[in-house]
């Protein structure tokens, strides 16, 4: 279903990834896989309370224990030297004054062995004054809720609030006149929804190895989605010059947004500085759940009006997102993206970012959008049923297209929502028969995609092979995509290109791998770097031929005279020019630095069949199809992988995953046994359809593909379950007890 005229040679093929063998033989080095001679182990002491004032911390006994080499508390960092934008990060990394959630770090130890570190932690005496806590978003918004921050006044509200609250921010988006829109509606549906907090669930816990030397320089090895971000934040927290800290990104065992901040790294650096030795810290799984980034729990209200013939007249949404201890929820993106799929005259969304005694929120794949889509697409499905319209036809009728003013402001250029809906309509999944207790759900979804700061370099070697250097960690095969785009641009073999991820001292600043930006931005920069190298190679050939540089041109991977006037010369191959580099001016390299824009939004439409067990409420996923616009799929196998992975994370979110808190404000399921992520036996194959509506902002039409795939699943599954169970499900996860109760209530009522 490509719309692009251009013929690609390399892009769109499925070669093996260059880092594959290391990863299937166990040789690839992930965060916890590096050690250093004389290394110490670092361990954290964490708050057992959801909310407590720290009256004092006495570390003297721990420090005196033989084998303990350093102790760190909040006071070890000089907050007066830290930029204000990083104050919350610092307070989260090591609590100051108050512990704001169970698991909040209050002290750390570096010791010569794990057993000594454990013993030392027990010797630290913390005097806590336990405070009332709140973990639920609606309760946290109540006027009499326990306050996390005495100085938190809701921003962007007029009039300015006079009293502090747990609501950090207010957002509002939309256009038109919402009341006038609802007045035109024949049918109006309004519903409230709730979703539980979920964790990104990467299999690799956070890990790092820090090495500060006595001259104030430092090196850090860590698993992160953005080592340049880690460097800048850590340097700020440590009071170091940026150039004195070199950060190397390990292979990364999953991130999904959760590795776009720092937790342990500054503490490892501080311990290393105090001890004068390398320090390694690896989080336990329990620490990952309790003290690294989950996403929001939410409470939402959606109101949609439509005419009898299925045209939306007005859409309204209120989004309350619990953003953890420092109110970092992605509610802004939720409110922006909620109705982004539709062409609307009247639309309004508001969002509240709410603090509660839970871990600091960190981004999770398409941050904020999946919850909003769950609520919106649930009401859309109900509306289609109420109007007696086909689910896909109803969406098609209202779909945003090129020229639509989006619900969050900008006007779309070329977008592929309509194409995904049509592809779903013609898929045999859509017309397959359903059995008893089965239902089929449909939902569409949207994600913005990002560009951002990017720097790359490309070195041509004398044998005609190429080394490519990027600063965006490879989280799921991006080295292969980079190689394909460079092969395409240079007209050389994919196998002759090797891509590495450089450390922070080797390239200019690169933003974190987020917003599905890597293949788009690093790819865009590499294509330009390849063009830069090609221009230089043209000049070299011109020099060999002794003709002006303008008189040569690049064609099919060779340089040739641009026309008959330029002279008679045999085309010179890439390899020949490379081989002559030393006597035509030295090494040949290409560079590009950019703050990329034009990432191109991406839409997807999902279809799912489920069966609900009427006796237990257990939901089985029978069939799943993802249709999504990739712009241009650079390496289709990894694009499919992104579609499948996002869908399955969404399945977990829809059916099982949830942060469960006790009355005491403590997390009750901080492990993979009780925080139940999907396993192979829960699932069918995940069908994929790659739609390609080229992104005008990229030379090959590439759009980000990593995030949109997690946006529709919860809604699609809720729609399927609601059909199968005969009752509208409005709360996630749809775990067996919750589904059973809804069915029982529906029968009883």
């Amino acid at each position: 279903m490509g719309k692009q005229d251009r013929d690609f040679k390399a892009v769109g093929t499925r070669p093996l990834r260059p880092d594959g063998v290391e990863k299937v033989t166990g040789r690839a080095k992930f965060g916890a896989d590096l050690s250093a001679p004389g290394m110490l182990v670092g361990r954290f002491l964490r708050s057992p309370h959801a909310h407590a004032r720290i009256r004092s911390i006495d570390t003297s006994k721990a420090a005196a224990l033989p084998g303990v080499k350093a102790v760190v508390t909040g006071d070890s960092f000089d907050i007066t030297k830290v930029s204000s934008g990083n104050h919350d990060t610092l307070a989260n990394v090591m609590a100051r004054d108050k512990a704001l959630y169970e698991g909040h770090a209050v002290a750390a130890i570096a010791a010569i062995s794990v057993s000594i570190a454990r013993k030392a932690l027990k010797l630290i005496e913390v005097d806590y004054e336990v405070l009332p806590h709140v973990t639920d978003v609606d309760e946290a918004m109540a006027a009499d809720a326990p306050l996390l921050h005495e100085n938190m006044f809701t921003a962007n509200l007029t009039p300015k609030p006079t009293k502090p609250s747990n609501i950090a921010n207010f957002y509002e988006f939309g256009h038109g006149d919402i009341e006038a829109g609802f007045a035109k509606a024949d049918v109006i549906i309004e519903r409230s929804f709730k979703t539980a907090a979920t964790h990104q669930g990467y299999i690799e816990p956070h890990a790092c190895l820090a090495n500060m030397t006595q001259d104030g320089q430092g090196e850090l090895w860590c698993c992160t989605q953005g080592h340049f971000m880690v460097r800048n934040v850590c340097a700020d927290l440590m009071g170091m010059e940026i150039s004195k800290l070199r950060v190397t990104a390990s292979e990364i065992g999953g991130g999904f947004g959760g590795k776009t901040t720092v937790f342990i790294d500054p503490v490892a650096l501080m311990l290393s500085k105090l001890a004068g030795k390398p320090v390694k810290i690896v989080m336990s799984r329990e620490e990952v759940f309790k003290a690294s980034g989950p996403t929001s729990s939410t409470s939402m209200r959606i109101k949609i009006g439509a005419t009898n013939d299925g045209r939306l007249t007005a859409c309204e949404g209120e989004f309350n997102y619990q953003g953890g201890a420092y109110a970092d929820s992605p509610v802004q993106f939720g409110a922006m993206s909620a109705f982004a799929c539709y062409d609307l005259e009247h639309v309004k969304t508001v969002g509240y970012d709410v603090a509660a005694n839970r871990p600091k929120n960190v981004a999770y794949r398409a941050p904020g959008a999946p919850m909003a889509a769950f609520a919106v697409e649930s009401v859309m499905a109900e509306m289609a049923d109420r109007l007696g319209l086909d689910q896909l036809e109803f969406r098609l009728k209202n779909a945003a297209t090129e020229g639509t003013r989006s619900s969050y402001g900008p006007t779309y250029n070329s977008v592929g929502l309509t194409e995904t809906i049509k592809a779903a309509q013609s898929h045999d999944h859509y017309s397959a028969p359903l059995g008893a207790n089965q239902g089929r759900g449909i939902a569409s979804g949207f994600w913005f995609n990002f560009g951002g700061q990017t720097a790359v370099s490309l070195n041509v070697q004398e044998d005609g092979t190429v080394n490519v250097t990027v600063g965006t960690p490879d989280i799921g095969g991006s080295r292969a995509s980079m190689g394909l785009m460079v092969a395409e641009e240079l007209g050389i073999e994919y196998d002759n290109i090797r891509c590495i991820i450089a450390d922070t001292s080797s390239l200019g600043y690169n933003d974190v791998t987020d917003g599905s930006r890597t293949t788009f931005s690093s790819g865009l920069a590499l294509i330009n770097a390849a063009k830069d190298a090609k221009a230089k190679m043209c000049a070299r050939a011109a020099r060999i031929w002794d003709i002006p540089a303008e008189a040569v041109e690049w064609k099919d991977g060779c340089v040739q005279p641009a026309g008959a006037n330029a002279g008679e010369f045999e085309p010179m191959s890439f390899a020949e020019i490379a081989a002559n580099a030393d006597n035509t001016g030295g090494p040949i390299a290409g560079h590009h630095e950019i703050n990329a824009s034009g990432a191109g939004v991406s839409f997807g439409t999902h279809m799912v069949d489920v069966e609900v067990d009427p006796d237990t409420g257990y939901v089985k996923i029978l069939r799943y199809t993802v249709v999504q616009d990739a712009g241009k799929a650079v390496h289709p196998a990894y694009v499919e992988g992104q579609y499948q992975g996002g869908a399955v994370q969404g399945i977990g979110w829809a059916l099982n995953e949830e942060y469960i808190y006790g009355e005491d404000g403590r997390l009750q399921n901080a492990g993979f046994l009780d925080y139940r992520m999907p396993v192979a036996s829960d699932l069918p194959m995940i069908d994929t359809v790659i739609v390609e509506v080229p992104n005008p902002g990229h030379p090959y039409g590439v759009r980000g593909v990593g995030e949109t795939s997690i946006v529709p699943p919860m809604a699609a599954i809720a729609n399927a379950v609601s059909q199968a169970a005969g009752v509208r499900m409005t709360e996630l996860p749809m775990s067996p007890p919750r589904v059973l109760k809804a069915m029982d209530d529906a029968k009883g009522g």
């Binding site: 080095k29 993979f672 192979a680």
Partner: protein, 159 residues
């Protein structure tokens, strides 16, 4: 803490080490012997990233103590390829793009090999249930299951 002396066999080689009595086999493999191919995703037997073979049985190395390895035979991901040739499972994982981040991959490969040693012709359902102890957060399992099925077909052809 006093350390215990252990003699064992790892990937066919005789190995000796000292370990504390509360250290897991996974700690010993990774930290003492630098065999970091086995990964720790949970330390509680729930993710399978630390899968190894102990006397021919699939186990989670995080649930075995280092001292328990005395006189046993251990096989890890590091012993799966022979010389410069990958095991068919390793090759098929690459061909099917069955890894994204790759942190779960060693565990899946060890577990899948244990399955195919026992059952060379598994159904899709059998593969899914056998691998239900291995978590992958990136792939949605689709390509992993296909890679294992394909490797099984190829290995049956060779036999």
């Amino acid at each position: 803490m006093t350390q215990t002396h252990v003699s064992t066999t790892i990937n066919g080689d005789k190995v000796e080490y000292l370990c504390e009595t509360d250290e897991t086999l996974l700690d010993v493999l990774r930290d003492t012997l630098s065999l970091t191919g086995s990964k720790e995703g949970c330390g509680s037997g729930d993710c399978g990233a630390c899968s190894v073979m102990l006397d021919g049985r699939l186990v989670c190395a995080c649930l075995v103590l280092g001292v328990e390895a005395q006189d046993r035979k251990i096989e890890t991901i590091e012993g799966m390829a022979s010389g410069d040739e990958l095991h068919p499972l390793q090759q098929k994982f690459l061909e099917h793009a069955a890894l994204q981040c790759g942190i779960c991959t060693p565990g899946f490969l060890v577990a899948a090999k244990a399955l195919l040693d026992e059952n060379p012709d598994p159904t899709e359902t059998e593969v899914r249930y056998w691998l239900a102890g291995n978590l992958c957060r990136c792939t949605g399992y689709d390509k992993i299951i296909r890679a294992v099925m394909d490797a099984a077909t190829e290995m049956r052809g060779q036999a």
